[in-house]
């Protein structure tokens, strides 16, 4: 638990043992994906802040929680197999 903000510190399998550089790269890649669904991700000292275009936001601790929050904000599942997303990322 982060003593400052009360958010659980990440021990997610996909983020375990990573450094700051990997996290910066992750956030950049996540924003390419999330942007396709009208969402934007910020990284506030190790805590993800997810926002939609209407200004609604959610604070999330790790990748697992991120996708659940993104689904709530987008109002639909974010499917990585969506052909239009795959095309957008491949460009």
């Amino acid at each position: 638990m982060c003593a400052l903000c009360g958010v659980l510190m990440s021990e997610h399998w996909a983020e375990a043992g990573e450094g700051r550089r990997a996290r910066v790269f992750r956030v950049a890649l996540l924003n390419r994906v999330l942007g396709h669904f009208g969402l934007e991700l910020g990284d506030w000292s190790g805590v993800y802040v997810l926002r939609d275009r209407k200004g609604a936001s959610e604070v999330v601790g790790d990748l697992g929680a991120l996708w659940q929050a993104a689904e709530r904000l987008a109002g639909r599942p974010l499917d990585p197999l969506d052909p239009s997303l795959v095309r957008a990322l491949s460009r």
């Binding site: 996909a14 983020e15 992750r26 890649l29 994906v33 996708w67 997303l85 795959v86």
Partner: protein, 318 residues
């Protein structure tokens, strides 16, 4: 050195021979110091083992996802085992075996072991052993979704009661199970006559390396089939993690299992093993187990095809 106690999960449909198998295993000298958590104190041979009974109690999380729901009963029992062992009230144990009810989903057990803060540093999921009855197993797979899920979650499958049917029927069931879950080893055994070493993990990395051999797309099993995704370029681990977590959130109910080796450009691959949303901590190997150095992931899933998985993964991580 690994200090977490291994937890083996023994599952299988109603009447498929779990208790017979467990009783037989526990008679083996190498199975001493085993703590057993069961739902029913039936005819299990318990004399020299620590046996605890629990009533399955599943805590559904706010997300409502069944596979990520936590088994509160199991968590309480494991915490109690630890506390009492540390206070010297119990004999030491080296391994825990959890025998589920016949209708239990294996994924919540793994989710509990992998996510409960008080447990995940003290216990590790070792292996999922699933029993399938040679007499009724094929019909059960046809009719009961949970039976498919139990077989898909397995690392080892024991076909029980083979002495009660013709050899050809046993062979056909074994073939079907290998096709449904190509990541599991399948053995047939009467009266639980299986050596513990054939079921429980030896050296972790060696076992893990046997994770994924490329397979042809399997036949349809109630809408579920196994496909292997193969990519011959190293994958970016960050992109891979984003892709898989997103995929499991969007399609987790339909992806019963994912297991394989991922080439991240190192000297050896990363071993990945997940049952629905419950993903084991990845294991880094020092070397590839064979000459094939391509990333390969076996998915046991419903409604996803190899081509779309490969194209999507490549867009995220290649």
């Amino acid at each position: 050195m690994e200090r977490r106690a291994p937890v083996a999960v023994l599952t299988g449909f109603l009447g498929s021979g779990k208790t017979t198998l467990l009783s037989s295993l526990l008679e083996h000298p190498s199975m001493g110091e085993t703590a057993v958590i069961v739902n029913e104190l039936g005819e299990i041979a318990i004399d020299h083992h620590l046996v605890r009974k629990v009533d399955e109690r599943t805590v559904v999380l706010p997300s409502g996802c069944v596979c990520c729901s936590l088994r509160g009963d199991l968590a309480d029992e494991l915490r109690d085992l630890l506390e009492r062992r540390e206070q010297g009230e119990l004999t030491p144990f080296r391994r825990v075996v959890v025998e589920t009810t016949g209708l239990a989903e294996p994924a919540p057990i793994l989710a509990t072991l992998l996510s409960e803060p008080a447990l995940k540093h003290r216990f590790r999921p070792e292996v999922v052993v699933t029993t399938v009855d040679a007499v009724h197993g094929s019909r059960t797979l046809d009719r009961h979704e949970v039976s498919i899920r139990q077989a898909a979650a397995a690392d080892r499958i024991v076909v029980t009661k083979p002495d009660l049917v013709e050899t050809e029927d046993v062979d056909a069931l074994v073939r079907r199970l290998r096709e449904l879950n190509p990541t599991a080893s399948v053995v047939a055994a009467s009266f639980g006559d299986v050596a513990p070493r054939a079921l429980f993990a030896g050296p972790g990395k060696k076992r893990a390396a046997a994770a994924a051999r490329p397979i042809e797309p399997s036949g349809d099993h109630g809408g579920v089939h196994a496909v292997t995704v193969i990519l011959d370029r190293p994958l970016d681990w960050t992109g891979f993690g984003i892709w898989l977590t997103m995929l499991l959130q969007a399609r987790g109910a339909d992806i019963l299992r994912v297991k394989g080796l991922v080439d991240t450009g190192g000297s050896g691959p990363v071993v990945l093993n997940g049952v629905q949303h419950a993903v084991h901590p990845p294991i880094h190997l020092d070397a590839w187990p064979d000459g094939d150095r391509r990333s390969r992931l076996v998915f046991i899933a419903r409604g996803v095809e190899r081509d779309e998985l490969e194209a999507s993964l490549a867009a995220f991580a290649a």
